[in-house]
Symmetry: C2
Subunit: 101 residues, 2 copies
DNA sequence: CAAACAGTTCGACAACCATCGAACTGTCAC
DNA sequence: GTGACAGTTCGATGGTTGTCGAACTGTTTG
């Protein structure tokens, strides 16, 4: 398989981040990623009853919007929130969205 | 004309707020409202080249998502960011979206 | 009252999007 | 190597959305 390029944070636009977050499935995924640890895409605990192709679509959307990065490990993939970069580019945004405070 | 009810902030969902903000036109409108002052819907300075019906659609979307309130003044309407309520319900969100810091 | 004005609503249209199943690609285990 | 496994991609489908023009509603001003 190919690779899964995340955009440079310099090219990430706020409106695209917000659009990606403006979907209940993706917002929930981001919540599960809040602790910063990479999570396998196969995770049972997403709490979502969707097919793999739909999940794949959302993972791609999050990655292309700049919110996550994909870590390939043989035949398994993990997804991780780009927390540090996001905090630098959009200070307070992730914190506010996750409701931490 | 009827009235323009804003939802109770208790009923406002984060995902709907984010979806409303995830559009370039509406994000720009919110930026213009950042100072908290009500702005007439007729404002020339929105910086948007759209018809009145399209603007009306976006104003409605923002209001129904809980982001703004409409102030009717005879035949003119003003729109205002619900800053205090939003700050209370989603601390730091508006600040982060507006890029204040 | 009549005309101008501010704004909404409606219908249409195209573009986009979430979802699914099926087919496909790459990797690991046997 | 062959089959199971993890994940992506593709095509289709139905629903949503952004945009416009035209018609409409309510308000102010002559």
């Amino acid at each position: 398989m190919g690779d899964y390029p995340s955009p440079d944070m310099a090219d990430v636009e706020l409106v695209d981040v917000l659009k990606a977050l403006g979907d209940p499935v993706r917002l929930q995924i981001v919540h599960k990623l809040a602790d910063g640890e990479p999570k396998p895409k196969t995770l049972d605990g997403w709490g979502l009853d969707l097919t793999k192709s739909t999940m794949s679509h959302h993972f791609r959307t999050l990655r292309e919007a700049g919110l996550t990065r994909t870590i390939v490990h043989g035949r398994t993939h993990a997804i991780q929130l780009r927390r540090d970069e996001l905090d630098q580019k959009f200070p307070g945004l992730v914190e506010a969205v996750l409701g931490e405070r």
